[in-house]
Assembly symmetry: none
Homo-oligomer: 250 residues x 2
DNA sequence: CCAAAATCAATCATAATCATTCATAAGCAA
DNA sequence: TTGCTTATGAATGATTATGATTGATTTTGG
């Protein structure tokens, strides 16, 4: 198992359980205690978790709030510029689908003056849309703890009753060989269904997600275009073989 | 069990029951008395609880949470006691519908230890349920900006797919002659449909809403029982002619 | 008020976890 | 291949958490 894979696995487990024990990780991965200790130390330095005796817990800061440490702030800036760029594709009065996720959340301030009708499956997005005075529909369904995304049969059924002019999705990874990936199969189903009901679909990803491989569900999203920020030219070329790519203007 | 998990567990238990016994903790966790004593000492030093002989209690300052705007704090005390009383009707593992509204919102802390599955059409309720770690479903539909309630065809259709053991609704007025009233016809439709899919329905109203007449939609909710706080005896008698009434125990 | 029972603080030995070091294995460029 | 870097796993002594024991303190029930 690759270092990055382990890191993703640890963070995913942490996201679900709020706390992980080192010994559990030793059992579930094939890595040694030393290696996993190093992983935890690194992830702590990145601010992704907080080590405690015997394992690690989610950092104390609020999950909803954008994080304040250096690295995440930099990510946030990128997400914001991607989101702002993505919003320029929305026309006056469009019906829009916004996937649950932090990047799509950042689009909301830039949608206000376009009088859109927005459908989302994200709880924090519904709150933000409501505050922004935008006409909001929510899919409903089962609420996934922590991520605040609605999934399951209810959400899928609700999606079937809508049709979108434009659809924005977040992903966990984009790879020239494997395509789009996202960790949760249920969220993947939502994304796929939303895309199938849209005239045009855009995938939002910052460069840290490009060519990243991890445990994830692969999504088939043929018609979609990718929106990314600055990329090495070679990565860009490879990606363009599988999908149209829009790069954020600086 | 990690130290942090125990601490969280203790605080959670304390939040629910307002008081914990050391011996109960010894039984429920696998930790020794010594360890749990140390936990309590630490948590006390952090100001999270107050030790007493045999266990611990909530610190005195936590008893009254500050919160919210004027409207939602109006009659807050009454709403809280009504909500707490209403929650006693919920059984372990029940499927529960919670109407959008400030009174039903107050029920959420009292539902935690009953492991319910909760369906709601209220955006603030979904947020609170999520934070409380309760399994949550949301109807979805169109979001009404002012109230944070989901209404319309989408919400009604989603409601049709659920069935509830117990259903709690808020109303705008209760009148011995006119029955239940609520200002918005769309919300009235939601309430009616939810009630029709429940084995048992309770209407929550504080005394300020009794015998109030206003421009409103009259709802026919034959099977429902009314939960109110202190009332003049004559009002109570009149109401009992049209519906079963439960009065909050002081 | 007294005595029994329960709870408590303090101490100590043990077990678990930790940081550090070092040697080996794996990846990679020349 | 060789030489270099990086990732890994095992071993070490240090640190921390834990559980049992002790005698002191508080509550309880006459």
């Amino acid at each position: 198992m690759l270092t990055n894979e382990r890191h993703d696995y640890i963070l995913q487990l942490l996201d679900e359980k709020r706390t992980v024990k080192l010994q559990d990780l030793v059992e579930k991965t094939d890595a040694s205690e030393s290696t996993l200790r190093r992983d935890l130390t690194e992830l702590e330095n990145m601010g992704k978790l907080e080590r405690v005796f015997g394992g690690a817990i989610l950092p104390t800061r609020n999950l909803q709030e954008p994080s304040m440490d250096d690295k995440s702030t930099r990510n946030l800036k990128e997400k914001q510029s991607i989101a702002e760029f993505a919003a320029t594709f929305v026309q006056e009065g469009d019906s829009v689908f916004l996937d649950a996720g932090t990047t799509t959340l950042q689009m909301i301030p830039h949608l206000k003056d376009k009088n859109p009708v927005v459908v989302t499956n994200g709880l924090p997005l519904a709150v933000a849309l409501n505050e922004a005075g935008i006409t909001t529909y929510l899919t409903g369904g089962m609420l996934k703890p922590r991520t605040g995304a609605f999934v399951g049969a209810g959400a899928l059924a609700a999606l079937g009753t809508y049709h979108f002019d434009i659809c924005f999705l977040g992903v966990n990874g984009v790879h020239a060989d494997y395509g789009y990936t996202t960790p949760d199969p249920e969220e993947a189903a939502i994304k796929k269904k939303a895309a199938s009901h849209a005239r045009k679909t855009y995938i939002l990803a910052d460069h840290s997600k490009v060519n990243k491989v991890s445990f994830a569900t692969i999504m088939d999203l043929q018609e979609a275009a990718l929106i990314v920020d600055g990329l090495p030219a070679e990565s860009l070329k490879e990606l363009e073989k599988i999908t149209p790519v829009k790069v954020v203007e600086e």
